[in-house]
């Protein structure tokens, strides 16, 4: 008879003000009986997922495994394969969710300037590196984990070239500990051909053409050309041009922030003219007539999350939800940009729900999941290790009692980063317990 030992994971680090990073996985773990959502569109009902030393070494369906083998995996004999069994029957296992274009850890409280470190002054800032300002102990960062968001791109903001972003995991002592990939991307805010009047200066506040647009593009071209010329100078001390080298070499991915069609076509054409091929479009809210252009150029899109106003007062209120399906139907690799909604940074924990909301407009749920797992991993170039539940990849995953993409059923019971068992406590859960107890004790 199958006899499954239930193991309660103890959260020993409750007493600290910030969650103490979990120790390296020293005991192998088997998650048994769950529906596994692989992240690449596949699912396995009644799955077994095993991981040892931080790496997944078993992903299979229990249907094909003899019960003896299962017994072997957790029996007390010397042959046992897994030290710990987690019974996840009726639960779901997902790869850790990956957030793109976040300023997590760079800003703690928006209104407190002293805690804001995501927007350096200047227009062209390729030398700026977000990673060194990343606060691994941010309260906002720890609050991502209980909803399954475990990895993120930490990106600077502002200017035309904001700087370089790195990729981190959310259970770390410091930024060096957190980093998965250094300086992976550079962030280019393409100028807008349109502008709203500066009403505070007495101008009409309506939309009009940006008369400065051609000049801004020419200046940018000039900056790129100078940087290119600088590549031939030995021992150059030009900070900015040196920082552009990996961009012009095609090593650094360019995140092109562009919303409407003109921005997209101009931006992509511009970058291609410098031989840059690693381009990712971020935003793309008004791209529906240029999806073929995007597809032909083989560019992934990080589309703005759906909880925002539609483009104009007579646009379909649902257009912000329907756009992701159009992109997927066009054959584009799509992920989700979590900015542009109220309380946006802390709301990145709602990333699974942005995917769910997109899926409610005609996208298969597993495909919607890949928009926040497999696809961002590909975009970041970390798909060898992250983004899907496959043998040989990092055991960065979580268990939810229900469908993790819907608010009413997302209920995360365990989360692991590279096999390390994370605490799901936060500043917020501590306050919850403290005050729930206050009233229940007094009754």
């Amino acid at each position: 008879m199958k006899k499954i030992i239930l193991l309660n994971i103890l959260f020993l680090n409750l007493i600290y003000s910030q969650q103490t990073p979990a120790p390296t996985q020293d005991k192998s773990i088997l998650i048994y009986g769950s529906t596994a959502h692989i992240g690449n569109g596949q699912t396995i009902k009644n799955s077994v997922i095993g991981f040892t030393d931080g790496v997944i070494d078993l992903v299979a369906s229990t249907d094909g495994i003899w019960s003896n083998e299962i017994l072997m995996m957790f029996s007390d004999s010397n042959n046992k394969k897994y030290d710990t069994i987690i019974d996840a029957s009726n639960s779901h296992v997902y790869p850790g969710i990956i957030a793109l274009n976040t300023n997590l850890g760079l800003v703690e409280v928006d209104a407190v300037r002293a805690s804001v470190d995501d927007d350096e002054t200047g227009t062209y800032l390729p030398e700026i590196r977000s990673i060194i300002a990343y606060n691994a102990e941010s309260k906002a960062v720890e609050s991502m984990r209980p909803n399954g968001v475990l990895l993120a791109q930490i990106a600077p903001n502002g200017g035309i070239i904001s700087g370089k972003s790195s990729v981190v995991q959310f259970d770390a002592w410091n930024w060096e500990d957190a980093v998965i990939k250094y300086d992976q991307g550079i962030h280019l805010n393409w100028p807008s051909p349109y502008t709203f009047g500066r009403w505070w200066l007495g101008e009409d506040r309506g939309l009009k053409a940006n008369n400065n647009y051609s000049k801004q593009i020419k200046d940018l071209k000039n900056f790129f050309e100078k940087s290119k010329a600088n590549m031939n100078i030995e021992n150059s001390m030009n900070l900015k041009s040196n920082a552009m080298k990996t961009v012009l070499d095609g090593e650094t991915t360019v995140y092109l922030y562009a919303d409407d069609e003109k921005e997209i076509v101009d931006g992509v054409t511009f970058l291609k003219s410098f031989g840059i091929d690693k381009i990712v479009i971020v935003g793309a809210t008004e791209s529906k007539n240029q999806l073929n252009f995007i597809k032909v150029n083989n560019i992934p899109v990080v589309v703005k999350q759906p909880y925002r106003f539609p483009q104009s007062v007579d646009s379909d209120p649902m257009e912000t939800f329907a756009i992701a399906k159009k992109m997927l139907d066009a054959g584009i690799l799509v992920s989700i940009d979590p900015t542009g909604t109220a309380s946006a940074r802390v709301s990145i924990r709602n990333l699974p729900f942005y995917a769910g909301s997109f899926s409610s407009f005609g996208i298969d749920k597993e495909v919607a999941l890949s928009m926040i797992t497999h696809n961002p991993a590909k975009i970041l170039g970390i798909d060898k290790d992250f983004g899907t539940l496959e043998v040989g990849k990092s055991a960065t995953l979580f268990i939810s009692k229900g469908d993790a993409l819907d608010i009413i059923s997302n209920n995360v019971t365990h989360a692991f980063i590279s096999g390390r068992n994370l605490s799901l406590e936060t500043h917020q859960t501590r306050l919850w317990r403290r005050y729930s107890n206050k009233y229940s004790d007094s009754q």
Binding site: D110, G206, L207, V265, D406, N411
Partner: protein, 604 residues
């Protein structure tokens, strides 16, 4: 310093032109030489019709000559930066229509990009260049038939999604729905609901269909009462009168904008009643407006009939001007208390003076000065007397506690703490005072006073006996308050049914509207929503939203409206092109920015 000229030939040559000058390394373009020569012939198919496009003079001012089946086609061409735009006017099905193509010029060999065809659909094109056949002859341009005149229908309001006639109350029998009653019956499955004359007239299983009732099969659908938003700033032309620390005399009822499309968007999210509050610039804000979202109605018909009057108060960072520079009193939470005490002292004195005067006999009145009428103090005197209710913007526990104590000192009660993000820290005191909490589901981290805001706030307050609502404070968020209720369920220890009450019956109770709306009960207003599934799942959509039995949002009709808007736009664009002749008096389109109005929004 690099200062030099670039010219088209030897500088002293008569025909030489200056193309660029460079001053201190900065390029100044006088004559653009960056254009690519795309002169040539291109073939294009639009709506299955073949077009020959001959482009000439593309380096300077491109000209396009277009033919279809050897007929000349009227067109307009422009080149801005490196974007070539051509508009074609052709007769389609007997009407003159237009199509457009836009191409970013990147090579001399082909023209590619996207167009909008004669039927207003986007299409992609890619056409290779062919050499122009020499001595080609063009026929004289025929005078084109003029564009069909177009007058769009007048709608209420006269914007997109406006309606042509006010919806009427219907008599409907909804069958076999899952009904969230918000009453003792709870959530009942396979049940029917009857509405007639703007009211709910029966709820139960296997009801008979009365005569002349239409039947809607609601199998697999969920029916709930309409969502009530306690804290909205939509449909208002103005939000903050920020000049004084008290502006009790101003009223949002005077600045309602019934044309705001957010009314329609909210109906699409199942919202039927909202309180539009003054902003949070002052400790004592302005009077609020409570409206039903009767899209297309006049303002007076939108106001919730016989609703109790409310006023907005505010505490914390906004009123002490923490996040911008200010100098008016108060600048600290200590000062905020004194603003309230001072104003209530004066309002009390004012009211008592009037009471004394009113109690005088006619003769005595003649020999006494009549007190001066003061709109501001009159409003605050209503508050002290329990005739007007307070909804107070609040964040941290100290100030929440303070305002309750000030109210108790003047012997009245605060009705609602709105936002109330640290309500969970003083929930026992709130329950004792009798104040409700209308909070955000999961916002925090945007200012210092929301450091300890937690998504468990709603459930802790509820479990401590406080009437809890979830509000939007944002005209975008309010269209998905059903998902905010889902968050209250996710974070905390309450049932789905209780969480749903946070956006329906509970805000109705806090606004003293629960006799009429907020639950499904015989005799109440037929403000109901039919959902495609579980109302708190994000896979669900509101399919029909009724107010007093009249259908104000219908998902099926919405799709038809979208097509109408698209057709109307296309007609208007045609007219604009027709008008766009040299010397015409043109006005450029001037769309206004959409602003997600919240508490802090200030007009300048």
């Amino acid at each position: 310093m690099s200062n030099f000229l670039i010219t088209s030939g030897p500088i002293f040559d008569d025909k030489t032109e200056i193309n660029e000058n460079w001053i201190k390394g900065q390029r100044h373009i006088i004559k653009n030489t960056d254009n690519i020569n795309i002169d040539g012939e291109y073939n294009l198919t639009i709506n299955n019709k073949p077009y020959e496009i001959v482009i000439s003079n593309s380096l300077l001012r491109p000209n396009a000559k277009i033919k279809r089946d050897s007929i000349d086609i009227k067109s307009k061409t422009s080149l801005v930066d490196d974007w070539l735009n051509i508009t074609l006017f052709d007769s389609i099905d007997g009407n003159l229509s237009l199509a457009q193509i836009s191409s970013k010029i990147t090579s001399a060999d082909n023209l590619s990009g996207r167009g909008i065809d004669f039927k207003n659909e986007a299409f992609l094109f890619n056409s290779s260049r062919k050499e122009i056949k020499k001595n080609i002859k063009y026929k004289e341009l025929k005078k084109s038939s003029s564009i069909k005149s177009f007058v769009s229908d007048v709608t209420f309001p006269n914007v997109g999604f406006g309606i042509s006639s006010t919806p009427k109350s219907q008599s409907i029998h909804f069958k076999n729905a899952t009904i969230w009653t918000n009453e003792n019956e709870g959530i009942i499955e396979n049940s029917d609901i009857l509405i007639d004359n703007g009211k709910i007239i029966a709820i139960g299983q296997n009801l008979e269909t009365p005569k002349n009732f239409s039947i809607i099969d609601a199998s697999d659908k969920h029916i709930t009462s309409g969502i009530v938003d306690e804290h909205s700033h939509m449909a208002a032309s103005s939000i903050n009168e920020g000049g004084h620390n008290s502006s009790a005399e101003v009223s949002i009822m005077d600045v309602i904008n019934p044309d705001d499309v957010n009314i329609y968007r909210n109906l699409a999210g199942g919202v039927t009643t909202v309180q539009i509050l003054h902003g949070s610039a002052n400790p004592i804000g302005g009077q609020s407006a409570i409206i039903k979202l009767k899209w297309g109605s006049e303002i007076d018909d939108m106001f919730f009939k016989d609703a109790d009057p409310f006023i907005k108060f505010a505490l914390g960072e906004n009123v002490k001007q923490s996040n911008w520079s200010g100098s008016r009193f108060p600048q600290t939470r200590m000062g905020v208390e004194q603003v309230f005490v001072d104003h209530f002292d004066r309002a009390k004195h004012y009211g008592e003076t009037w009471d004394r005067y009113n109690s005088l006999s006619k003769r005595q009145k003649n020999s006494n000065n009549k007190p001066r009428y003061d709109e501001e103090l009159e409003t605050l005197w209503e508050v002290i007397n329990g005739k007007r209710f307070v909804s107070s913007h609040s964040y941290v526990q100290s100030e929440i506690n303070m305002l309750m104590k000030v109210a108790e000192k003047f012997d009245f009660r605060i009705k609602i703490f709105t936002h109330i993000l640290e309500g969970y820290k003083v929930a026992d005191k709130m329950a004792k005072h009798g104040v409700g909490g209308s909070t955000f589901s999961d916002w925090w981290g945007y200012k210092f006073e929301v450091n300890d805001a937690i998504p468990f706030n709603a459930s802790i307050m509820h479990n401590a006996g406080v009437t809890v609502a979830l509000n939007s404070d944002n005209s975008e968020l309010s269209r998905r308050l059903n998902l905010e209720a889902a968050k209250a369920f996710k974070y905390g220890n309450i049932s789905e049914e209780e969480a749903w009450k946070f956006v329906t019956i509970n805000p109705a109770k806090l606004l003293n509207l629960d006799e009429k709306v907020g639950s499904l009960k015989v005799g109440k207003d037929a403000d109901i929503v039919m959902w495609s599934g579980h109302p708190m799942s994000l896979y669900t959509k509101a399919e029909k939203t009724y107010i007093e039995g009249a259908l104000y949002f219908d998902l099926a009709e919405h799709t038809i409206k979208l097509n109408q808007i698209k057709d109307e736009k296309s007609e208007l664009i045609k007219l604009m092109f027709e008008e766009n002749t040299p010397g015409a008096n043109l006005k450029f389109p001037n769309p206004m920015p959409q602003i997600e109005v919240d508490c802090e929004y200030t007009e300048f």
